[in-house]
Structures are given as structure tokens and as C-alpha cells.
């Protein structure tokens, strides 16, 4: 069983290092959202764009752009206070696939404002894309 678990560890590390799960989540979401006639060609086109973006350093079009993030924040902040609670913030990040369930985020007790939310989402998305 030693050999099995070390290969399993290897495989897990590989997934982590290249952020495969995030990439696959993104691909699957794009497929289900845009529902192209030819799924394989569509996936190939996304991956090609990604490859070119990595090589040429051009910013890659994210799944959610700033207006979507702002809209999401407004949905969470139903009473228009201008900030959302820490729990809501963590849940939102999990829904977007940008943080894992057991990651510890610091709670500064001040509530999260829209700019902070946007910054955090953008920062994490950038982190993920730079790993490809």
C-alpha cells in the first residue's frame, strides 16, 4: 500500500500545483452557462485562448467581470448597508470556487465592503489563472 499512497499523494500534488480542479470547474461552468452546440470545439477554443494569453501576457477574460461581482455584492447586501457579514463573504467565495471549505480567513470584525469584496475576488482569480 505504500506505493499506492505515494502515487496518490503525487496525483494530489499535481492537481494542487496546476490548479486543475479550478480549471475544470471553470470549463464546466462555461459549458453549462453558454451551452454551445459543439461542446468539444468550444472547450478547445477556451483552452487555446488561455494558452495564448499565458504566452503573450494578455489579461484573460474572467468568468465574472466587475459588474457581475458588484451585482453579486448587491444581492448579498439586501439591506443596502454597504457591507456584508463575514459569513456571507466566506460563503460567496466558496460559491465562486475561490476558496476551499476549510481555509481560514481572517475576520477583522468590520464587515466587508464592496471594494474589498471585489479586490479579494479579483486577487484570487488572478492567482488561479497565473498558475496555468
Amino acid at each position: 500500500m505504500e506505493a499506492n499512497s505515494s502515487r496518490e499523494l503525487e496525483a494530489r500534488n499535481y492537481l494542487e500545483k496546476h490548479r486543475i480542479m479550478e480549471l475544470l470547474t471553470y470549463l464546466a461552468s462555461a459549458l453549462l452557462f453558454f451551452r454551445p452546440e459543439k461542446p468539444r470545439e468550444y472547450l478547445i477554443s477556451i483552452l487555446e485562448r488561455l494558452r495564448i494569453a499565458k504566452v503573450s501576457g494578455v489579461a484573460f477574460p474572467f468568468f465574472m467581470d466587475n459588474s457581475n461581482i458588484a451585482a453579486m455584492f448587491q444581492m448579498l447586501d439586501s439591506s443596502n448597508k454597504g457591507s456584508i457579514s463575514f459569513i456571507q463573504y466566506k460563503e460567496a467565495l466558496k460559491t465562486l470556487g475561490l476558496c476551499t471549505a476549510d481555509e481560514v480567513l481572517k475576520d477583522d470584525g468590520l464587515g466587508i465592503t464592496c471594494e474589498k469584496f471585489m479586490r479579494e475576488v479579483n486577487k484570487r482569480t488572478q492567482e488561479i489563472w497565473s498558475a496555468f
Partner: protein, 479 residues
């Protein structure tokens, strides 16, 4: 209320698209290949994998005792599926390979191959372009458990494993009649499979090692090994008895190879039950609803409920019901839409019966976006329907329904006062049946992937057939 913890309302087009295009299996296959090969650059690798589009090429292993017909079946499958055949002989005979040359020298000396060498030969062959594109069929490999494990560690795994089995005495006798055509390599038999052309007959030779003692020895070896190979392929093995005509074995093998194994893809059943009156649709729908939590949508019931609720659709329907004419399609569709769009139908799936009854209704439903993913046609012969329906009785005092043959009333007194509904008279039933059969051919054509079942059995048998039709993926037909 926290917006992110409320139940998410997923538009139904998404799961429908996912099912129709097998998105889950697509992603799963890609992830499998990524984990096995672990390329340094995942993105170009994924592009190449998607372009190759070889998720469903045949990957078959055929195992069996000597002279069970493995090679024959493997060759036939290879020709039919347009795939590549690999056996120990073909691997050794390969040119342009240093591994094969080593193997040849070893084989000449010892008459066997070391496991590692054989497995590496297999790996080399499977990496070639034609195997990647058209799939492969392994004939008689792996021979031992060690080989099976080694092949698995290299990331090669079959999708279907066929094991031929027959009693030893049959096999020993069969082996004595084996003849080989030296030119084509095809195997013939003096009794079962004699070639018609005399020129082939003349050049057949008797292969070495078919004496009884030799066969018995090889059988012993086989039995020792096969028991330990099978646990490596737990869910994909099918045992076919080789003690029947070759064609039958081939038929069974081909059907098996064309089935797709069930995957973990999310699946909300949207079942449509079609059949003449009295075929058991309502009963099966109720059983399905009870066991799987699907929503039982009976069209007739829905319309009656609308009338009883005195909703606006109910008022539209009432005049048609009173005059006993058919309700127009667009009204039925409106009522149906209202029901099928509700949250419980979207989440749990539905089983629909009583609609559509002809092609136009089916087209209408399809254009509104309600596409069932399993369609069943229940066939029941006329006499059975008559028997089932004309013996129905209702007790006017208690309201209980019984059947004179299947669920007789408890006492003679009750039986004396039972009444029959006018709907259940023979002429009425005949009329309704003919109405159904007039439209059924078109309906079957419309729902191309429908499954036809024999409804003339007891309800639980029919239910099991329906269950297996729903839980197993629809077979992919080889063009």
C-alpha cells in the same frame, strides 16, 4: 435571509444540456487522463485530448481457456468495430521494435515471455497512433494477476472485459479439431467451422500442441490464473458461455461491448410512459413515484384537478368534459406547463403518462422544452387488456375498487352488489385501443430512443424492466 444560502434555482436547460452532451463523462475522462499522464503543461495536453475525441473507442480484453474461441471472437469484434487486435503472437511478430526482437529470442528459447517484457510490449503498441484513434482488443492478455496489475499501473485499463467459459471436457474435445489457415491466420474447426472453399480446406494445417494432454495442462494453468485476474476488473466483467455456436457468442459479446457503464453523472429522470389503455401506466407511475420520489403527473388527473379547483384553466376545460370531446392540445399544454414548471418537478424529476397521445402533441411538448430523457412503450395484447379492464368492479357502498380475477371482493354479498363502470365496456375499450394504435407508430418514430417493454407480465416484473431502463445509460449504437 442570506441570499447565498437560499435554494439555488437552476434553469432546467442546464441539466438537460449536461445530460444530452455527456458533460460529466467528458470532464471525468479528461481528469482521468490528466492524472494518469500528469503532463508538465496541462493546457496543451487537454487541447490535444479534446481534439483526439477518443473517449468511446473500444477498449476490450477477452479472456478464456484455450480453444474457447477467444481469437475468433476477438477477430470478429475487431473487424466489426474497426479496431486493433493485440495478442501475444502479434506483439512478438512486430517489426521495428527492439523490445519485440528481445521477446522473439526469449520465446524461442523458453516458449514463454517474462511478464515485464510482455507488458512493456503492450504499452508500446498501445501508444501507437492507430490504437489511440481506433481502440484496441487484447486477446488473452493479461495471462496472470501480475501482468494485470502491471498493466494497470501503467494506466492502461479496459472498459469491457469478456470472459469465455465452457466445461473442460468440451474444450479438450474441441481443441482436437482445431485447424489453422497459414495464410490468413484464421482458425477453423473440423466440425463446427469448416471453410466452404476447397482451396482453403487444402491448405489448412494442424497446429502444434493440441493433443489431449497438452490441452489439459494448459487448462490447468488457465484455471489457476483466471481466478486471480478477475478481481482486478470488478464491475466490467461479463462471463459468456462458450459452449454455444460462435455466432451466438459473438452476438452477446457485441451487445455487451456496446453498452456504456453507468457513471456518477447527476441525473434527474424525466420519464414518459406510453401504452394503450389498461397497459399499466398509472400503476407503474405510482410505483416509480413511491420508490424514487419522482412526481407522478397523470394528464387526465391534472385536468380533472384543474376543473375541481375552478381555476381559469378549469373553466376552459369544463365545456369539453361535459360534451365528452377531447380537450384541445394548447389548453392541456398550459395546464401541464404549470405543473411541470413547479419546483418539485424540476428538482425530483417527473413521470408523465396520458400525454402526448399523437405526434402533434409530442412536437408541441418538445417545442415547449419538456423533453423526457427516458421513454417507455408498454405493449400488451388485446386479450390481456380486455381481461384486465372488463373485470374491474366498484363497490357502490364503500367505493372500493376490485378486480374479479386479480383482487376479488372478500364476500359473496359484496360481489352481488358490485357495479361496472360504463367506461370499461368492451366496445369502449376497443375504441380507445384503436385510437392509441393509430398514433403509436408515429410516436415511436418521434421518440427514437424509446424502450419497448412487454407489459403482459406481473406488475413487479414490468417495474424491474422500467427501473433498469432508467438507471442504465442508453446504449450507444455503433454506426
Amino acid at each position: 435571509m442570506d441570499a447565498t444560502s437560499a435554494p439555488h434555482r437552476i434553469p432546467p436547460e442546464m441539466p438537460q444540456y449536461g445530460e444530452a452532451n455527456h458533460v460529466f463523462e467528458l470532464m471525468q475522462n479528461m481528469l482521468e487522463q490528466l492524472l494518469i499522464q500528469q503532463p508538465k503543461d496541462p493546457v496543451p495536453f487537454m487541447i490535444e485530448h479534446l481534439q483526439r475525441d477518443n473517449d468511446y473507442v473500444p477498449k476490450i480484453v477477452i479472456l478464456g481457456p484455450p480453444s474457447s474461441g477467444k481469437t475468433t471472437i476477438a477477430m470478429w469484434l475487431g473487424k466489426h468495430l474497426n479496431s486493433n487486435l493485440l495478442s501475444v503472437e502479434s506483439l512478438i511478430a512486430k517489426e521495428y521494435s527492439s523490445l519485440a526482437a528481445d521477446a522473439r529470442t526469449h520465446y524461442q528459447k523458453f516458449q514463454t515471455l517474462p511478464d515485464m517484457l510482455l507488458v512493456r510490449l503492450v504499452q508500446e503498441r498501445l501508444r501507437e497512433e492507430d490504437c489511440v484513434r481506433r481502440g484496441w482488443i487484447l486477446d488473452g492478455i493479461p495471462e496472470t494477476r501480475e501482468q494485470a496489475l502491471m498493466i494497470q499501473t501503467l494506466g492502461v485499463f479496459p472498459r469491457h472485459v469478456i470472459v469465455l467459459s465452457a466445461p473442460d471436457t468440451v474444450l479438450i474435445e474441441r481443441n482436437l479439431g482445431k485447424r489453422i489457415d497459414p495464410q490468413t491466420g484464421e482458425i477453423y474447426h473440423t466440425t463446427f467451422d469448416w471453410p466452404p472453399e476447397s482451396e482453403i480446406q487444402n491448405r489448412l494445417i494442424v497446429p502444434a500442441g493440441i493433443s489431449e494432454g497438452e490441452t489439459a495442462r494448459r487448462l490447468l494453468e488457465y484455471h489457476r490464473n483466471i481466478v486471480r485476474i478477475l478481481p482486478s476488473y470488478p464491475k466490467i466483467v461479463k462471463v459468456i458461455t462458450a459452449d454455444q455456436p460462435c455466432v451466438d457468442v459473438f452476438c452477446q459479446a457485441l451487445t455487451y461491448v456496446q453498452t456504456i457503464h453507468r457513471s456518477n453523472a447527476p441525473f434527474t429522470p424525466r420519464v414518459l410512459l406510453c401504452g394503450p389503455v389498461g397497459s399499466g401506466k398509472s400503476l407503474q407511475a405510482a410505483l416509480l413515484a413511491q420508490k424514487y420520489g419522482l412526481v407522478n403527473v397523470c394528464c387526465g388527473q391534472l385536468l380533472k384537478e384543474a376543473m375541481a379547483d375552478k381555476s381559469k384553466y378549469g373553466e376552459m376545460i369544463r365545456p369539453f368534459f361535459e360534451k365528452e370531446t377531447a380537450v384541445p392540445d394548447y389548453i392541456i399544454m398550459k395546464v401541464l406547463r404549470q405543473r411541470l414548471d413547479q419546483q418539485d418537478c424540476l428538482e425530483r424529476g417527473w413521470v408523465l403518462h396520458g400525454f402526448p397521445r399523437d405526434r402533434d402533441q409530442a412536437c408541441l411538448m418538445d417545442s415547449m422544452g419538456y423533453k423526457p430523457n427516458r421513454v417507455f412503450f408498454l405493449n400488451v395484447p388485446f386479450d390481456s387488456i380486455i381481461e384486465r379492464l372488463t373485470l374491474r368492479r366498484t363497490d357502490p357502498v364503500t367505493g372500493e375498487r376490485s378486480h374479479l380475477m386479480y383482487k376479488p371482493p372478500p364476500t359473496m354479498e359484496i360481489q352481488a352488489r358490485l357495479l361496472q363502470s360504463p367506461k370499461d365496456s368492451e366496445e369502449q375499450i376497443k375504441l380507445r385501443m384503436e385510437l392509441f394504435y393509430r398514433n403509436s407508430a408515429e410516436l415511436q418514430e418521434f421518440y427514437g430512443q424509446a424502450i419497448t417493454l412487454n407489459g403482459d407480465q406481473d406488475p413487479y416484473t414490468v417495474f424491474e424492466y422500467i427501473e433498469s431502463g432508467i438507471t442504465n445509460p442508453l446504449p450507444k449504437k455503433v454506426p
